[in-house]
Symmetry: C2
Subunit: 155 residues, 2 copies
Amino acid sequence: MNYQPTSDATDPVTEPAPTQAGEGETMFALLEAAGVVQARLDAALAEVGLSMAKYRALEQLARCNEPLTLSELASRRQCVRSNVTQLVDRLEADGLVRRVDDLADRRAIRAVLTPLGVERHAAGREAIRRQQAELAARVAPADRALFHRVLAALG
Amino acid sequence: MNYQPTSDATDPVTEPAPTQAGEGETMFALLEAAGVVQARLDAALAEVGLSMAKYRALEQLARCNEPLTLSELASRRQCVRSNVTQLVDRLEADGLVRRVDDLADRRAIRAVLTPLGVERHAAGREAIRRQQAELAARVAPADRALFHRVLAALG
DNA sequence: GAAGATTGAAGACTCAATCTTT
DNA sequence: AAAGATTGAGTCTTCAATCTTC
């Protein structure tokens, strides 16, 4: 089956008839803003060679000085174990993490930060801190409490 | 290299010392709230057999009654063309969209909604509308304007 | 049998070629 | 050469087996 153009088709985007304060738009306003912020954060982390997923794994490992089993890592990251298996594959390929056997439980494998991993984590932490500061500066201190309260109600 | 457990390791999460109104937390509060909302939205769409990616493509096709080329679809969705190629593959496999040749430009391929696609789009639209309403109900009308203003400043 | 980790398949995304048509 | 679509590689995620160890 084929298609023959018929008219100009400048698609009327059907403006959603400006309701007084955009009731229905709250959801997409939130999602849109979060998307932009997330993109900036990803870009900042990419500059130091990290993704958000990788950073969060390093963060967990750095936080508790004991090496973690992959299952512990998964539960702290709120994701499934198979995900962590592959994430640790990539982190190991990057030289940021090493797998070590757990002598106490031969089923378990623990992930341990390499020196490079420690260094990279610090760089990522700094990149995030800068983004946080830059973002916080855009919201007036007087508005902060209300903003956080509404966010908490939505999440 | 192996690992031997040494202590209990109940990982002290190091509470971030409650600053008076959480300056640094704004970013993660936003990201966290958006994540929860996104999850609810995904779940609602999944009930009618759609993902957000699929819904947005159907939405674009339904909005402008003319079938769109894959490039037009990509630019409206703000993503790369190869992404749309694969997305349309999946939509076609679902029977929601058909590829048709463009007689005017033999390079181009247009995506057209099937009757099932039109139906599915309406179901998705309804699912989204419900989520929007549920969410909007959680923010007091008096807070709405300020909330949207801050979101706009952050995005 | 249940808990550790892994593998394979799939959705959704990106980027870097590639191939065809303009 | 530039634009349209596609393919292949890679990231990040999930789910459903599978295999080993407890």
